[in-house]
Structure formats: structure tokens, C-alpha cells
């Protein structure tokens, strides 16, 4: 069953999570530019259809909007480190590991039954307010078109004409 995600207009709850064993990232540090939060169920899903691998390829498009992308799952830092190295991931993967799924729960993106996060996307504006959220069926890679449309709207551009 799909969780009830935090909806557009809601201030994004702040969090501080480990990106590497000795480095943390706080959402509030990124104030001033759009942030894309991509909750995903687990590292190590199949290669070509993998959502994080896709976003990795699209990173320059996101950066074109000045946006930062953060991946979040309940996997631990060492798992993320191995996954990021194997797939050459160039954006932070955050470990929502202790308390497990604590941030996902705040965003309405936790699957208590499976003990993983949903496949949920949030676009947060420069002031820290959620502007778009989307929960994909867990087995379906949602792609990036929804994220880009949301970023277009933030940038005040007509959807579909992002540079």
C-alpha cells in the first residue's frame, strides 16, 4: 500500500544523514537551491533499469537547474559506498539507517511491512518547501520526466522547454 507522502506546500522536514562513514549532509545546508530527494528501496537492483544509475546519467540536467540530487535508502554507509563505487554514482547516497527509516517516516515514504523506503520523489524549492512529490509503484522506475517538469515550474519555465 502506498504511504501518504508529504504533499506540495509542506515545509520539508530537515534531517542530517551520513553520506559517507565520516561525512553527513543536512537538508538545511542546501537552502537556496532546489533539492531533489529520491527515496529508493535498496542498493543493488538490476543494472540497466536501475533508477539511481539513470539519475546518475541525468545529473548534468539537474545541475543545469542549480538543483542538488540526494538518493536515500535504509542501506548503511558501507553498502552505499560499495554501490556508489560499483555504479560510479556521482551524487550523495544517504543512509537512513539509524533509526532505520527515520527520515522516510517523516516524509511518509516508509514501507513498514518491508522495512524499506518507498520509491518516492520530492522536489523541494530554494526556501525548503516541498513543491512536488510522487510515489511510484515499488517495482517501477519512475524515470525523471516528473522531476524535470517540477524543476521547470520552479524555474518559471514552460514545461517541456527546459534548456
Amino acid at each position: 500500500m502506498a504511504a501518504t507522502l508529504l504533499q506540495p506546500g509542506t515545509p520539508a522536514p530537515d534531517f542530517t544523514l551520513h553520506a559517507t562513514p565520516d561525512q553527513t549532509i543536512s537538508l538545511s545546508e542546501l537552502r537556496g537551491r532546489p533539492v531533489i530527494l529520491a527515496f529508493y528501496p535498496a542498493d543493488w537492483s538490476p543494472v540497466c533499469g536501475d533508477q539511481m544509475a539513470l539519475y546518475n546519467e541525468i545529473l548534468s540536467e539537474f545541475h543545469g537547474y542549480g538543483a542538488e540530487l540526494l538518493g536515500i535508502s535504509v542501506d548503511g554507509v558501507w553498502c552505499h559506498a560499495a554501490f556508489a563505487r560499483d555504479r560510479k554514482i556521482h551524487f550523495p547516497l544517504l543512509a537512513d539507517f539509524e533509526p532505520k527509516g527515520g527520515v522516510a517516516r517523516q516524509y511518509g515514504a516508509y514501507r513498514a511491512h518491508e522495512g524499506t523506503t518507498e520509491r518516492a520523489l520530492f522536489v523541494i524549492d530554494a526556501e525548503g518547501v516541498i513543491r512536488w512529490s510522487y510515489c511510484s509503484p515499488v517495482g517501477v522506475n519512475p524515470g525523471a520526466d516528473g522531476i524535470l517538469r517540477a524543476l521547470d515550474e520552479l524555474a518559471g519555465r514552460t514545461a517541456g522547454t527546459g534548456s
Binding site: 540497466c48 546519467e57 560510479k88 520526466d145
Partner: protein
Amino acid sequence: MSGGGLTPPVGPDDHASGSAGAPVTLVEYGDFECPYCGQAYPIVKALQERLGSRLRFVFRNFPLKESHPHAQHAAEAAEAAGASGKFWEMHDTLYEHQRALTDPRLLQYAEAIGLDPGALARDLESGTFAEPVRQDFRSGIRSGVNGTPTFFINGERFDGPWNDPEAFLAALTQASA
């Protein structure tokens, strides 16, 4: 998610095999080094044979460069061949040799289909055909491509099992009705 369908629609700049008047247009976003695209290659060939003039097939590049180190140059080589009217010859050659896509191999393939390998070497070096590949890639993102291969049938993303030829054929046949 897929909100708007294929963006932009198939146009004169696309590499198309078959008539624009065909009732079904199948678009593939593919990566020449992706093994799943390699699996799809003979399946699409068989569908083209089966449906004949009822099917137009369009290929757009979606190289996953981080996963597949040779995919970008392979895509550029296909575009370069396309500029000389030999896109499909190169497309087929690349899929038939998708484990051997280093630059020297790409030059050999160019020569084998009657192109100047020296010109291709210069084009790869200077990125002459990087921009059309990039445009394809961006259109794929906009269209809701979420991996490779991703297919669109008459502009709608086909989420069914492309690796089941009968189901794929059924979807195409239905679209042509």
C-alpha cells in the same frame, strides 16, 4: 512516470525505417552497449519482418555512459553514418558486435560499410555528432525513458514485456487496428 508520452514526436530528423504512412510507429530508445538492447535487436528485426509495411521503426540514442564506457562513441558513430545515409547499416553492425565497440573497432565497422574511417576518427575526436546524441538523450528523459531499451508505440510508452515476442507483436497489432 510518463505524463506526456513521446516528446518530441517522430519527425524528419529521426532515423526511421519504413514508411511515414505506416499505421504503427515503434520508437526505441537504445544503447548500443546495453545487453538488454542487444537482446531486443533480433526481436525488433523479426517484428519488422512480420509486420512489413505496417510498421515504421525509429531509433533514438540513449547511451548510459557511466555504465557503458563505449556507448557514447558508438552512438556518435551511428549518427555519423546516418549523415552519410548509412544509419541502419551501422546500427545493425553495432548490435551484432556489441561486445567489441572500442574506437578502433568503430573505425573498422565504418570502413566495412563503405565509410571513411579517417573521417569518423576525426568526428569522434571532435565530438561532431555529440549534440544529436545529447538531443536524443534529453528527449528520452522528457518522454519518461527509465532504462534501456524503452519502447514507444504510436507515441505511448510500452511497459509490457518486449522480451516476449508474441506480447510485443500483439501490442503492435492492436495499435495498428
